[in-house]
C-alpha cells in the first residue's frame, strides 16, 4: 500500500495540470502525505505496506515498494515533512501555479519513490524522475543566474547519474543475483577483483549527487537560484538519495570500498574544511546556506568512512545510525533555513548580508525560528544535528584502542574544527541579518512578522528538530528493529 505515498502527489499533480485549484489540492495532498507517511513509518508492518510487481522478466526487475528497513522509514518521514513545508511555505509567482505545484509534488514523489523502492532499478529511476522537475523549476522560475545554474546542475547530475548507472549495472552483473531486488542483491557476493572498480563508480556517481568535493560546484549556485521549495526538497531530501544508496549497497562492495578509504577521507575533509572556509566568505544568505549544505555532507561521509574502516555494520554499530540521524537532521534544518531565507527575501527584497540588519525587532518570531535552525545547523545540544554529529564523531573513534591515531581518527579530529567554522558563519550571518541597526527596508515600519503560511511549516520542522534532538531514540529505535522478512506475495506478472 505504500504506493499510496507516491500516488497521492502524482495524482494531485495531474489534477492540477488538468485544471484543479492548485494550492488547495497541493496542500491537501502534502498534508495527507505527511499524516500517512509519518503514520506508516512509525507503525511498521510489512504485510500491509508491501507491494511487489514484476515489470520485466529478463533482466528480472520488480516494481517493489515498501519499507526495506528503518533507514527507508526515516527517509520517508523526512521527505513528507519537507514536502509539507515546501508546499505550504512556497510563494508561487502569479500565473505559474500549473508549473510550480506539480513540479514540487513530482520532486517529492520521486524522492519518496526512491526511498520506498526495494528494487535497485526503481530506486535509481525514481530519483532520476525527481531531477527533471528540479531542472525545470530552477531554469524557469529561479532567480538570479538561473539559466546558468540550471545548466550546471543538469549536466553535473546527469553525468553523475550515468556514472552511477554504469556502476549499478556492473554491480548487478558481478553479483550474479537473480533479480534486482535489494534482498537478493545483498544476499549475493561479488568477486573482490570487481569490487574495487564498482566501488569507484559508486563513490563518484553517488558523490556527484551528494556534492562530494570536487564534484560540488553545482550545488551552491543551484540552491541560491532555485525557488525555495525546490532548494528545500533538493538539499533536504534528494541529496540524501546518494548517501542512502551508498549505505544501502555498502555490504556488497565492502572490500572494494576499503581501497578508496584514503581518497575518500581527503575528499570529505575538503568538503568540511575547504568548503567551510568558502562558506565563511559568502556575502549572500542563500549562497552561504548552499555552501553550508555541501560542507555538512562531509560529516555524513565521515561516518561512512568509519564504516568502511570497520568493514561491516556489525563492526561499527554507531556508523550507520550516526549517518542516518545526521541525514535526517540536516534535511530538516537546511529545509527550515532555506524556507526562512526565502521569507526574508520576500519581505525585504534582498538576501545580501550587507544590506540586512535589525530584522529581529520587526520580526521576532522569524528571528527566533531562524536562530533555532542556525543553532541546529551548528550542532547545538538539544537539537537533532547535535545527536547526529556526536554519533558521527563517536563512530570515528569506535575502532580506536589507544596508541597512534588511524586515518579516520585524524580525520575526525580535523573535522571537529568544522563545528567552529559552522559557528562562525552561521552566527555571523544571524547577527548581520537580525541584529544591529535596522535599515530602511528592515525596520518595523515597513514589514511585519511572517504569516501563518510560513509559521506553521516552520514550527513543524522546528518541533521535529527538537524531538529528535532531545530524544534521538525516536529515530534510532527504528534502525534497531530487525530487518523484517521480505514479502512473499508476487502479483501478476
Amino acid at each position: 500500500m505504500s504506493i499510496i505515498l507516491i500516488l497521492i502527489p502524482i495524482l494531485a499533480a495531474i489534477a492540477i495540470l488538468i485544471g484543479g485549484k492548485a494550492k488547495p489540492i497541493a496542500l491537501g495532498a502534502a498534508t495527507l502525505n505527511l499524516i500517512l507517511g509519518l503514520g506508516s513509518a512509525f507503525s511498521f508492518d510489512h504485510s500491509v505496506w508491501g507491494l511487489t510487481l514484476q515489470v520485466l522478466s529478463e533482466p528480472n526487475i520488480h516494481l517493489s515498494l515498501g519499507f526495506y528497513d528503518g533507514m527507508s522509514m526515516i527517509m520517508v518521514a523526512l521527505s513528507v515533512l519537507v514536502l509539507f513545508a515546501a508546499v505550504m511555505s512556497g510563494k508561487c509567482p502569479e500565473g505559474r501555479e500549473k508549473l510550480w505545484y506539480p513540479s514540487i509534488l513530482l520532486i517529492a514523489a520521486g524522492g519518496i519513490g526512491a526511498f520506498l523502492s526495494r528494487d535497485l532499478f526503481f530506486f535509481y529511476a525514481f530519483h532520476e524522475l525527481a531531477l527533471i522537475p528540479t531542472f525545470l523549476m530552477i531554469g524557469m522560475l529561479g532567480s538570479g543566474e538561473r539559466k546558468e545554474a540550471a545548466w550546471k546542475i543538469t549536466i553535473y547530475l546527469a553525468l553523475g547519474s550515468i556514472i552511477l548507472l554504469a556502476g549499478l549495472i556492473w554491480l548487478v552483473a558481478a553479483s550474479g543475483a537473480e533479480t534486482w531486488l535489494f534482498e537478493d542483491l545483498l544476499a549475493s557476493t561479488i568477486d573482490p577483483s570487481a569490487q574495487k572498480g564498482i566501488a569507484a563508480l559508486l563513490i563518484v556517481g553517488f558523490g556527484v549527487l551528494i556534492s562530494l568535493f570536487p564534484f560540488h560546484s553545482w550545488a551552491a549556485p543551484a540552491y541560491a537560484s532555485a525557488p525555495a521549495p525546490v532548494a528545500m526538497l533538493h538539499a533536504g531530501v534528494l541529496k540524501k538519495f546518494g548517501l542512502y544508496g551508498l549505505i544501502r549497497l555498502y555490504p556488497m562492495v565492502s572490500d572494494g570500498m576499503q581501497a578508496w578509504l584514503g581518497v575518500l577521507i581527503v575528499l570529505l575533509l575538503c568538503n568540511i574544511l575547504w568548503i567551510g572556509y568558502v562558506t565563511i566568505n559568502q556575502k549572500r544568505l542563500d549562497m552561504m546556506l548552499g555552501n553550508s549544505s555541501v560542507m555538512h555532507m562531509g560529516y555524513i561521509f565521515l561516518a561512512f568512512a568509519a564504516l568502511i574502516e570497520a568493514g561491516s555494520f556489525a563492526a561499527n554499530p554507531l556508523a550507520k545510525p550516526a549517518a542516518v540521524l545526521l541525514m535526517f537532521a540536516h534535511g530538516v534544518s537546511i529545509a527550515l533555513l532555506f524556507m526562512l531565507t526565502d521569507t526574508i527575501r520576500r519581505k525585504t527584497g534582498t538576501v545580501e548580508l550587507a544590506e540586512l540588519g535589525g530584522l529581529a525587532k520587526a520580526a521576532p518570531r522569524l528571528a527566533f525560528l531562524f536562530g533555532l535552525g542556525a543553532m541546529a545547523s551548528i550542532g547545538l545540544p538539544g537539537l537533532a544535528n547535535f545527536s547526529g554529529e556526536v554519533l558521527v564523531f563517536l563512530s570515528g573513534f569506535h575502532a580506536y584502542e589507544g596508541g597512534g591515531l588511524g586515518p579516520v581518527q585524524i580525520a575526525t579530529v580535523l573535522a571537529l574544527w568544522g563545528v567552529v567554522i559552522s559557528a562562525v558563519y552561521m552566527l555571523r550571518a544571524f547577527r548581520q541579518t537580525f541584529h544591529g541597526p535596522a535599515v530602511s527596508h528592515t525596520d518595523s515600519n515597513h514589514l511585519k512578522d511572517f504569516g501563518p503560511f510560513c509559521q506553521i511549516p516552520a514550527a513543524v520542522l522546528a518541533v521535529a528538530l527538537l524531538i529528535v534532538g532531545l530524544f534521538p531514540n525516536s529515530l534510532l529505535n527504528l534502525l534497531k528493529s530487525p530487518e523484517a522478512p521480505a514479502p512473499t506475495e508476487q502479483a501478476a506478472e
Binding site: L17, Q54, V55, L56, S57, E58, P59, L63, K98, Y124, A125, F126, E128, L129, I132, F135, L136, G139, M140, K147, A150, T154, I155, A158, L159, I162, I163, L165, A166, I169, W170, A173, E493
Partner: protein, 481 residues
C-alpha cells in the same frame, strides 16, 4: 495462407493504387494514402493469421525464413509504414508546394504508393535467408528510397539529398555485390545457413574480406560510422515522412539483414572473435561520433539525423556482444530497442511536422515558447525528448539499459565507456529542445494549430512511451522472448 502472401498483398496493393492514382482528381490524391493504410492494416491482421508454409515448397524455403524474428520485423515494418503514411497525410500540404503544380496535390499520389513498394521490400528482407534474396529485396527498397528522398523536385535541398543518396547508395550496393561474390567464390553457396558450415582455415581470409565488404554496405544502410556521412544531408533535405521512414524502417531492416548475415560468421570459432572486434570498433566509433556531432546542431531535423546515427551505435552494442544464450539474446535486445526507437522517433517526427506546419521552420528555435503556446504539446514533446535522451521511467531508458547490460556482460568495455559519454552528450543536445520550449520566449504567441490526426497519434505514442517505461514486458511478448 502462406506467409509470403503478406508481401504479395502489399505489392499488389501498391500496383493497384498506382493505377487508380492516374484517374483521381488532384484534390482526392490523399485517398491513396488512406487506401494504402487500409491495405497495410489488412496485412497486419493477416500477419497473425498466416501459417508457416509447406516445407516441401523447396523454392520458397530456400529463400524465405519464417521465424519469430521475421514475424516481428514484418509487423514492425508494417506499423512503421502506417505511421509514415499518417505523417504523410499531414505533410502533404508542404509536399504539394514542391511537386508538379505548386499548391495543387497533383503529383503527390505516387508518393504514397512508393512507400508500399519499399515496405514490401523490407518485409521480404526480414525473411531473407539467402544472399540473393537479400540483395534483391534490399534493392527494391533502396531504389524506391531514392525517389522518395528526391520527391520534392522543386526544392533544391530535396534534390541535393536525392543525388547524394543515389551516388552513395549505388556505391554501397557495389560493395554489397562485390562482397557477396567473394563469399560465393569462397564457399560455393549463397545460402547463409550453409555458409556457416563451410568456414575453414583456408577460406577464412576470403570470407572475412567478403564480410567486410558486406559490412560496409550494411553500415551505410543503418547509418554507422564510417558510412554515416550521407545521413545528415539526406535526412535534412528529404520530405519529413521519407526521413522518418529512412530513419526507422530502413534502419531496422538494415539491422535485420545484418543479424542474418553476421550470425553464421560471429558464431564460428575460427573467425568469430575477429567479427566481434570489427563490430565493436564500428559501435564505439558510431556512438562517439554520432553523439558528439549532434551537440552543435541547431536544426531539429539534423539533430534527429545525428541522433539516428547515435542510436545505430547503441544497437550495434548488443550485436557486437553476440549472445545467443537462453536468457535474452542479442536478437531480442535489438528487436526490443528498435520497437522503442520506433515509438519515440515517430513521435518526434510528428511533432516536427506540426512545428513545421505552423512556423515553416525545422530549426530548434522554432520550438521557442512552445510551453506557452501549446502546453499539452510542449509536455508531450518533453516526454518524448526525455525518452530519446534515455531518462528512466520512460521507454527510451529500457532500450539503452538492455543494450548496455548486454555489452557489459559481453565485456565490451571501451564501447560501453564511449556509449556512456554518448548518453551524457545526449542529455545536453536533447535538452536544448526543452530549453527552447520552456526557457525562451517566442516572438509569436498565437496558439498553435494541430490537426486532430497528428494530435492523437502523438498522444498515443507518448502514452506508449510512458506505459512501456513502467512496464516494458509487452514488448517481450511481441518479440516472443
Amino acid at each position: 495462407m502462406s506467409a509470403y502472401w503478406l508481401e504479395i498483398i502489399v505489392l499488389l496493393g501498391g500496383l493497384v493504387l498506382l493505377l487508380v492514382e492516374a484517374f483521381l482528381a488532384p484534390k482526392q490524391k490523399h485517398m491513396i494514402a488512406s487506401s494504402a493504410i487500409f491495405v497495410l492494416v489488412l496485412t497486419l491482421i493477416c500477419l497473425f493469421l498466416v501459417q508457416p508454409f509447406n516445407v516441401d515448397n523447396k523454392e520458397m524455403t530456400r529463400f524465405y525464413a519464417w521465424d519469430p524474428s521475421a514475424k516481428f520485423f514484418k509487423g514492425f515494418t508494417i506499423v512503421a509504414t502506417i505511421l509514415t503514411m499518417l505523417l504523410a497525410l499531414d505533410y502533404r500540404r508542404i509536399l504539394s508546394k514542391f511537386t508538379a503544380n505548386p499548391d495543387s496535390e497533383d503529383g503527390t499520389g505516387e508518393y504514397y504508393c512508393l512507400f508500399l513498394f519499399a515496405c514490401a521490400g523490407m518485409m521480404w528482407m526480414a525473411s531473407a535467408k539467402d544472399l540473393v534474396s537479400l540483395f534483391v529485396s534490399l534493392e527494391l527498397t533502396t531504389i524506391t528510397s531514392y525517389i522518395l528522398v528526391g520527391f520534392m523536385r522543386r526544392n533544391v535541398g530535396s534534390l541535393e539529398a536525392g543525388v547524394k543518396f543515389l551516388i552513395l547508395g549505388a556505391l554501397s550496393t557495389g560493395f554489397l555485390v562485390y562482397g557477396i561474390s567473394w563469399i560465393y567464390g569462397a564457399t560455393g553457396t549463397t545460402d547463409l545457413a550453409l555458409i556457416g558450415e563451410q568456414i575453414t582455415k583456408e577460406n577464412s581470409t576470403y570470407l572475412l574480406f567478403g564480410l567486410a565488404l558486406i559490412l560496409i554496405s550494411l553500415a551505410f544502410k543503418v547509418g554507422a560510422v564510417p558510412m554515416h556521412l550521407w545521413i545528415p544531408d539526406v535526412y535534412q533535405g528529404a520530405p519529413t515522412p521519407t526521413t522518418a521512414f529512412l530513419s526507422i524502417a530502413s534502419k531496422a531492416s538494415g539491422f535485420v539483414i545484418a543479424i542474418r548475415v553476421i550470425e553464421p560468421f560471429i558464431t564460428d570459432e575460427l573467425i568469430g572473435s575477429k567479427v566481434v572486434t570489427i563490430l565493436a570498433v564500428l559501435a564505439g566509433a558510431t556512438l562517439l561520433l554520432g553523439n558528439l556531432a549532434a551537440i552543435p546542431q541547431t536544426n531539429f531535423k539534423r539533430l534527429l539525423a545525428y541522433s539516428s546515427i547515435a542510436n545505430a551505435g547503441f544497437i550495434l552494442l548488443p550485436l557486437a556482444a553476440w549472445d545467443a544464450g537462453n536468457d535474452l539474446t542479442s536478437k531480442e535486445v535489438i528487436a526490443f530497442y528498435l520497437a522503442i526507437y520506433l515509438i519515440m522517433t515517430f513521435a518526434a517526427f510528428f511533432i516536427l511536422t506540426v512545428i513545421h506546419r505552423n512556423t515553416g521552420s525545422d530549426e530548434i528555435s522554432a520550438f521557442e515558447g512552445l510551453g506557452d503556446r501549446h502546453p499539452a504539446l510542449a509536455f508531450m514533446t518533453a516526454v518524448i525528448i526525455g525518452a530519446l535522451a534515455g531518462l528512466p521511467l520512460t521507454a527510451g531508458f529500457w532500450g539503452k539499459f538492455l543494450a548496455f547490460k548486454m555489452a557489459v556482460s559481453g565485456g565490451l568495455w571501451i564501447p560501453v565507456i564511449l556509449g556512456f559519454i554518448g548518453v551524457a552528450a545526449g542529455f545536453y543536445y536533447y535538452f536544448q529542445i526543452i530549453r527552447a520550449m520552456y526557457w525562451r520566449n517566442s516572438l509569436e504567441d498565437a496558439p498553435l494549430k494541430i490537426r486532430p490526426l497528428s494530435f492523437w497519434v502523438i498522444v498515443v505514442l507518448t502514452s506508449l512511451v510512458g506505459i512501456l517505461g513502467l512496464w516494458p514486458q509487452p514488448i517481450y511478448w511481441l518479440i516472443g522472448a
